[in-house]
């Protein structure tokens, strides 16, 4: 073997770790710059706008007004005290209440239904692949399209759901699901649950498939009741996967915008924080006021996530086990 030997490099250059860390820095820099431009900077600007009286048509003409968009205490000349700002705006609190109601109900329903579907898919039966393919369909359909599809199915005069319910004798007269205050939220929940349960089911299924089969076999041999097996064995084992799935869903639900905007436009019964913020920002020319509301939404989400991770000891990074 005569080919050239690699020359021995002198000691003192960059070591392997240093070389790799230097490369890592350059690999991360473009991504971090991009994220700074589209996430951190706009967020900071939003917070800044919320402390000014900026308007949509004059983005740079805003003056600093402190927390007035959130809460302003005015003492009138006759001595009465008036409160203004988002924090005393009934429309805002209505939106907060709608958002919370929607998020909690939808996530609970989706988790329970998702678990049931996952348990079904985890059983072995003919046509399992087909069923799995079928439940992927709602997930693949764009939210706007599903909103329109359901809007049509829920149509008061020609909707097929009214027709079904009438034929089955569940209702006595046709219901304007999306337009009626009492039912609008149900309509939104129904569509969201339809669309998102598959996602939960898939995540639950992935968790279920991690549970070793011999645990079930051992339980079967010991003659333990399947229901007991589920609550004592399965559920604790898939809890970590479930906790992560729930938080992602919850965050998604808390910021919901498109479904509500399209399915129940301008309905106070369903208007969420995102919807009302955008309304003020773009449509009502209360840019700064809307900024304040979206800042509040961000703050609420941040507090919620921190609490959830802290209380639930959720390992999001997936590094804990490694």
């Amino acid at each position: 073997m005569t080919a050239s030997k690699p020359a021995i490099a002198r000691d003192g250059g960059l070591s392997l770790q240093q070389q790799r860390q230097k490369a890592a820095f350059w690999f991360l820099a473009p991504m971090l710059i991009a994220l700074f431009c589209v996430a951190a900077w706009p967020l900071l600007r939003t917070v800044w706008f919320s402390l000014t009286d900026t308007s949509l048509n004059n983005l740079y003409g805003g003056k600093w007004i402190g927390f007035d968009n959130y809460l302003r205490v005015q003492t009138l000349s006759n001595g009465t005290v008036r409160y203004k700002g988002t924090l005393v705006d009934p429309a805002w609190w209505n939106a907060v209440w709608n958002t919370l109601r929607f998020s909690v109900v939808s996530v609970v329903c989706e988790t329970v239904l998702g678990l049931i579907v996952a348990l079904v898919l985890n059983a072995e039966f003919k046509g399992r692949g087909l069923v799995r393919a079928a439940i992927l369909i709602p997930w693949a359909i764009p939210t706007i399209v599903s909103a329109k599809m359901w809007a049509w199915m829920l149509n008061d005069q020609y909707g097929i759901l009214n027709d079904m319910a009438l034929n089955l004798g569940l209702i006595s007269s046709k219901i304007a699901w999306t337009a009626t205050t009492d039912t609008a939220m149900y309509a939104v929940l129904m569509v969201d649950i339809w669309k998102t349960t598959p996602f939960m089911a898939l995540l639950c299924l992935a968790g279920l498939q991690m549970v070793p089969r011999d645990i079930y076999e051992a339980a079967k041999i010991d003659g333990i009741n399947p229901v007991k097996v589920f609550f004592k064995i399965t559920l604790p084992l898939i809890r970590p996967a479930l906790m992560v799935a729930v938080i992602f869903r919850m965050l998604d639900a808390l910021r919901i915008f498109d479904l509500i905007y399209v399915l129940t436009p301008n309905s106070a019964a369903t208007k969420t924080m995102s919807v009302i913020s955008r309304e003020n920002l773009i449509e009502f020319d209360k840019f700064a006021y809307g900024s304040a509301q979206s800042t509040l939404l961000f703050a609420i989400l941040a507090v919620f996530v921190s609490l959830y991770i802290w209380l639930g000891k959720v390992d999001l990074s997936g590094e804990g086990g490694k």
Partner: protein, 277 residues
């Protein structure tokens, strides 16, 4: 089989049937509607009466809808390519190189992927008007990066972490620099993950509504979801359900086909990312 067992398996299959019907009926009904015209539209038909392509012709023959589809394809593709390009190197650094603050960085990226879009809307609006991008596809490409980039970084990091350490070490012994390791060794092994991640990000960008609604103002720059949401008839009362359903079917069928083809990979990607596409 005892009666009890029989009953159980009947109940099980009944549940399966309910799940399947519940999942596919709305889309099925959208297809049925898309083929109905005239008075047939205003009867509740569970089965198609006739296959009338008039709605499809109306939508595709219209002035703007084909343009909207092109917009969507362009925006989603560019966004995904851009995000993947940045994410591949970044995820290598995050998955493979030990450095201080890595855990914190990962959590920050995850946090960004969970940002409520509305919280950056005002700031992005300013940025986009400042750059003169308002009402152009680039406004959307820029803003979609906020969710596609963290998502792709996160998912690729989990995939990258699973590649065997010894292969990388063999490459190091062979004299490969980090750049060579990524391009010559890891990328060929990662392409299934890239396809999955790219597809999920594509679906996310294709379906996005809030930014598309806010940062475009004319019919010709709209993307498909906005176009469908704002599709209106001659009068306020007359919602053109037929064309809306036809448009819905047109933009959904390709997605469903893609999703069904890549079923297994998508499930893996979703589980890795834990993020709604």
């Amino acid at each position: 089989m005892t009666a009890n067992k029989m009953l159980k398996s009947i109940a099980f299959y009944a549940l399966v049937v309910v799940i399947v019907i519940f999942s596919i009926f709305p889309f099925y009904y959208a297809i049925v509607t898309s083929f109905a015209t005239g008075t047939a539209l205003f009867e509740a038909n569970y089965f198609p009466k006739a296959f009338d392509w008039a709605n499809y012709k109306a939508v595709l023959g219209g002035a703007t809808f084909p343009r909207n589809i092109l917009n969507s394809v362009f925006v989603a593709t560019t966004t995904v390519v851009f995000a993947l390009f940045l994410a591949v190197t970044a995820s290598y650094a995050l998955a493979r190189v030990r450095f201080r603050g890595r855990g914190l960085l990962l959590m920050t990226i995850l946090a960004v992927s969970m940002f409520p879009q509305i919280a950056v809307l005002a700031g992005l609006f300013e940025l986009i008007t400042y750059l003169g991008l308002f009402n152009s596809p680039f406004a959307l490409i820029l803003s979609y990066t906020i969710f596609t980039l963290p998502f792709t970084v996160w998912v690729l990091t989990t995939f990258m972490r699973d590649l065997p350490v010894e292969i990388e070490e063999a490459a190091i012994v062979d004299g490969a620099t980090p750049w060579i390791i990524i391009t010559k060794v890891f990328l060929p092994l990662l392409w299934p993950a890239l396809v999955t991640t790219g597809l999920l990000a594509f679906i996310g960008a294709w379906n996005e509504f809030l930014f598309a609604l806010t940062f475009t103002s004319s019919e010709s720059t709209r993307t498909v979801p906005v176009a469908i949401a704002l599709l209106s008839g001659a009068s306020q009362q007359e919602i053109p359900w037929g064309p809306i359903m036809a448009a819905s079917v047109i933009v959904t069928v390709p997605l469903i086909i893609l999703v069904l083809i890549f079923q297994r990979k998508i499930v893996a990607g979703l589980t890795a990312g834990g993020v709604k596409g």
